[in-house]
């Protein structure tokens, strides 16, 4: 596993040498054991950086926010911005570069390999072992194929597979392919598969398959999804946390329609509204399906949308469904390469055609 000290040294050197103008990373948050994203600009701050199983956030989101801010400042960046990137974060950055949203020379990617481990799922923690109260925990750490959780008085060593985030169990490339410097090792295939963390490791769409086995009819799937969509409160947390949702204007809330005292009622009424913001079933379906389709071929399965959902809608299912279809039918893998044409702006002669009359 990566020594956090190595990470701090690397970030400090980059900032001191002036190679980067800032480093996006993780530091210890205000909530006990959980890490929080941070942007550091001074080399002294590098000592705050951490690397542990609570570094769940996809930092590519902050790259998007940096790009937005630069859009306001209008000046080209003089130096690249450094960013810590796990396998999933790096895939997200690749998609952003593929879409020309950020340029390769604007980013300095410090790749972090999760090796054969992954990130902690806080929801799985509750009830994972006797006597653990997530509120009391002060630190979590990697240790081989286990996580070590420490509170003030006690330590627990839990098998990682039991409390690891589902997306990490299904992760295909925990080691960033595109990077400027890499910390940690590339896990060998046998190591990952053979370590018997869980059978899911060898099966990238395990959760999707489990769902399809239990809900194998149209009625069963509708029964499931209608209940999920009914719960949505339209807080848009999934959109806010998604590094791919960087549109200036979203279909669900128009910001370019400026209402002034001169705007007539007719203009307001005739404004184009594809999806309303109200949390009705029909609008929720419109929102979530639109999001799934806008992410088709772009979602790199960082699982953040599902993690932040306050009502626990299994959003990853929608996204992995799209991912699996594009992989199996179109041979497309999101975030694999900057040069490849995007899924929906390319085609092949042998794309599925049998569903068309």
């Amino acid at each position: 596993m990566i020594d956090p000290e190595e990470l701090r040294t690397r970030a400090r050197d980059l900032l001191e040498g002036g190679q980067v103008r800032a480093v996006i990373g993780y530091r210890r948050g205000t909530r006990g054991w959980a890490a929080e994203p941070v942007v550091i600009t001074r080399s002294e701050e590098a000592q705050d950086l951490v690397w542990d199983p609570s570094c769940v956030h996809n930092l590519a989101l902050y790259l998007v926010q940096d790009r937005r801010r630069r859009g306001v400042l209008r000046g080209p960046p003089d130096r690249p911005i450094g960013i810590l990137a796990k396998g999933c974060d790096a895939r997200a950055i690749v998609v952003l570069m593929q879409e020309n949203y950020v340029q390769r020379d604007e980013v300095y990617i410090i790749g972090l390999s999760c090796e054969s481990s992954g990130m902690l799922d806080e929801r799985k923690l509750a009830g994972a072992a006797e006597g653990i109260d997530p509120q009391d925990l002060e630190a979590v750490d990697f240790e081989g194929d286990a996580f070590v959780l420490s509170s003030r008085h006690q330590q627990w060593r839990l098998p990682a597979a039991g409390v690891m985030a589902e997306r990490c169990l299904e992760c295909r490339n925990p080691c960033p392919k595109v990077h400027d410097t890499l910390l940690g090792k590339e896990p060998r295939e046998q190591e990952r598969r053979g370590q018997a963390l869980t059978p899911a490791m060898s099966d990238p769409f395990a959760e999707l398959q489990r769902f399809e086995q239990t809900a194998d009819s149209v009625e069963a799937r509708w029964d499931f999804w209608s209940r999920q969509f009914d719960r949505c409160i339209r807080c848009f947390a999934c959109r806010s946390v998604c590094p791919m949702c960087y549109c200036e204007e979203c279909m669900v809330d128009s910001i370019s329609f400026v209402v002034t005292p001169d705007t007539t009622a007719q203009e307001k009424a005739n404004r184009l509204r594809w999806i309303e913001r109200s949390a009705s079933r029909s609008d929720n379906i419109g929102y979530h399906l639109t999001r799934a389709l806008h992410l088709a071929g772009r979602c790199i399965d960082c699982g953040e949308c599902e993690r932040v959902c306050p009502v626990r809608i299994p959003l990853r299912l929608l996204n992995t469904k799209m991912e699996r279809e594009s992989r199996e039918r179109f041979g497309y893998e999101p975030g694999a390469s900057v040069e490849v044409a995007a899924l929906l702006s390319s085609f092949r002669d042998d794309d599925p055609n049998d569903f068309i009359r």
Binding site: V218, E219, A220, R221, W222, D223, F224, W225, S226, F229, M251, W274, S280, R281, S282, D283, I285, G286, L289, T290, A292, L293, A296, L318, K321, M322, E325, S326, R329, F330, L343, L344, S345, S346, F347, D349, D351, P352, N353, F355, I356, R357
Partner: protein, 145 residues
Amino acid sequence: MSEDPKTTYEPRIIAFLCKWCSSAGSDLAGVSRIQYPANATPITVPCSGSVSPQYILTAFRKGADGVLVSGCHLGDCHYLEGNYLARRKLFLVKELLEFIGLEPERFRMSWVSAAEGAKFAQVITDFVADLRPLGPQDKLQGQRP
């Protein structure tokens, strides 16, 4: 005075027709006096590739019982590759709609050229026949205005 809804139910189809082929095909069906059900509301679009998934979702959400997208045969696209792009995009829409539990019969694609009036009539006839047993689509539909 209640009538059996099964006998009075007429499926409402929204048909997005490419202006270069399927739209002309539907015209040909008309001028050839071919009889086919009047359930489809045609919307002419510049190309099947211009049909956004949003159109399809919105059609369902506004109460369509079925949505048809019809374009040119492969290789015949006026814009060279619009129908190839449409095929890929709308395949994903179809998979997603099935995945959340909409009946797969409700969304359909077809390639109909300007010379295939008879095929257009057949596509609509088949579609209506497939939709009738399903009954009204009330899954994605919002409240009626």
